[in-house]
Symmetry: C2
Subunit: 338 residues, 2 copies
Amino acid sequence: MRATMLYGPGDVRCEEVAEPKILEPTDAIIRLSATCICGSDLWPYRGANEVAAPLAMGHEYCGIVEEVGSAVTSVRPGQFVVGSFCLSDNTCPHCRFGFQSSCEQRQFMSGAQAPFARVPLADGTLVATRELPADDLIPSLLATSDVLGTGWYAAYAAGVQEGSTAVVVGDGAVGLMGVLAARQMGAGRIIAMSRHKTRQELALEFGATDIVSERGDAGVARIKELTDGVGAESVLECVGTQESMTQAMNCARPGGKIGFVGVPHGVEFDGQQLFFAQKSLLGGPAPVRRFLPDLIALVLDRTINPGKVFDLELPLADVAEGYRAMDERRAIKTLLRV
Amino acid sequence: MRATMLYGPGDVRCEEVAEPKILEPTDAIIRLSATCICGSDLWPYRGANEVAAPLAMGHEYCGIVEEVGSAVTSVRPGQFVVGSFCLSDNTCPHCRFGFQSSCEQRQFMSGAQAPFARVPLADGTLVATRELPADDLIPSLLATSDVLGTGWYAAYAAGVQEGSTAVVVGDGAVGLMGVLAARQMGAGRIIAMSRHKTRQELALEFGATDIVSERGDAGVARIKELTDGVGAESVLECVGTQESMTQAMNCARPGGKIGFVGVPHGVEFDGQQLFFAQKSLLGGPAPVRRFLPDLIALVLDRTINPGKVFDLELPLADVAEGYRAMDERRAIKTLLRV
């Protein structure tokens, strides 16, 4: 099969590789219905992470079970499944505590920008639908696998609840999903920080009530203006740079909560500053598996349409163009047809 | 009157100063029933904070109202009052959100290691009791002003609830009050980390179920052993050094919460480490005013006896010995009779 490999900064290729096989009795092999490129794929693509050997890219996936290992009992060939980008057994104490992304057996999915993929820990990781979903729901179901689940976790970690004021820092796909999540959780006011017209429009469509196009100190000043000088009780940090984290911290009110899901690159916190700022911090790889059954249900009954976050659709063979388009911010998120 | 002034590292004196006067219409003057030395007083005493001019020491207080400014309406001369070490108006948005220690008008109390003290923002800060309390309750009422309120906030910020497993890092007075607070909040298991016999005994008396005397990696290993390899969902960090913070972080389970109330000195967090650790952080100067009415009630009906944390009692004139005893860890906390 032809799959996606990253060789180094800017060098991503669709090339012939061996089809995946069951390696462990807990594995499943799935035939992907669609796959996509994640904002976090851009870190190694941009050279921010070291790439030692060619990397099999892709960790967002949904599709049909082709084959399962001998120990797999909860899914069977022919079923449609979605799984989290974090593979987990869903039985260890961390999983049972709702933090499957810190599973004692945690692995990160890879190799999903391909027609077939091996999913380790299939019983713990995959959620099957009762029936095969309608084709037009595939993009939204694919979104639950990571980008929506991650935006959802940001809103959860930021403590969004009925009537909250939430600020979303970052207008990438995760930030936009954060807007959608905050809306579903009942936030009364959702302020999306974005300078890009198409992203602003999508944010409004997903439920943003206000757009702030300023950044840095000016952005914080605008948030303060919009909140009677107080700041927001919930801030979703969906970027991962020091600049965006500082902006998030300064947008939150004392006692407010910051949910951070952008993988931090070069971010540091001074303990005493954090102390006197008196703001709560929770981040991490999202425990998508916790939310997955609910998110899938919301998609299947068409309450939400997170698939709208895909504004570019390409055949897998053109994956390199998909990366380029996201890197240059011409596309929010690229869906790959396999 | 004779009051406590800090001139520099190790140099604290009880010396003649002018009696405090009403300076603002929102002030009150109180005659202290007792006062005490705080662990945080040891930072400047040990030279960890710069001391520019002689500092009027003391921020924990309770006593009888002597005089009030013209704008004060909620307390009157003759009443017994307790106030927080953080002065707040209790009406601004941050106060109403329960974070009085981030009040828009926040000031920090000073000059309370003295027979009389001026309390700014008296209406927002002071809580009066219905009657004059019994003398034997004075130490416990004094404790609510900071040390108990701070331990309470640590337990709150660490998310302690019915049945929680809580670890308390730090066996100073605040840590011991954290144990008491966790017990009151219904924690099922309270593990106090302490190497000192008298402090261990007091921790057990306040409600600790386990004592861990190891520190650092060995301490973390012991906590893991006691929690089936999982870690605790609630950790109270009551010291403020990098070492104690690292210990606290490593004792918490993924998804667990760390409430940190030791003023951080030289503490830093790496963003990516914090992300993958997936632990929640909330710290700050405690919003004692939020808890004060409840804490006072618990003392008055003798449900709790936080005053037991004072293991040294001296006349104010001997304040220097009180500092020395705490600095050398001969005393947990010194009560000063005025």
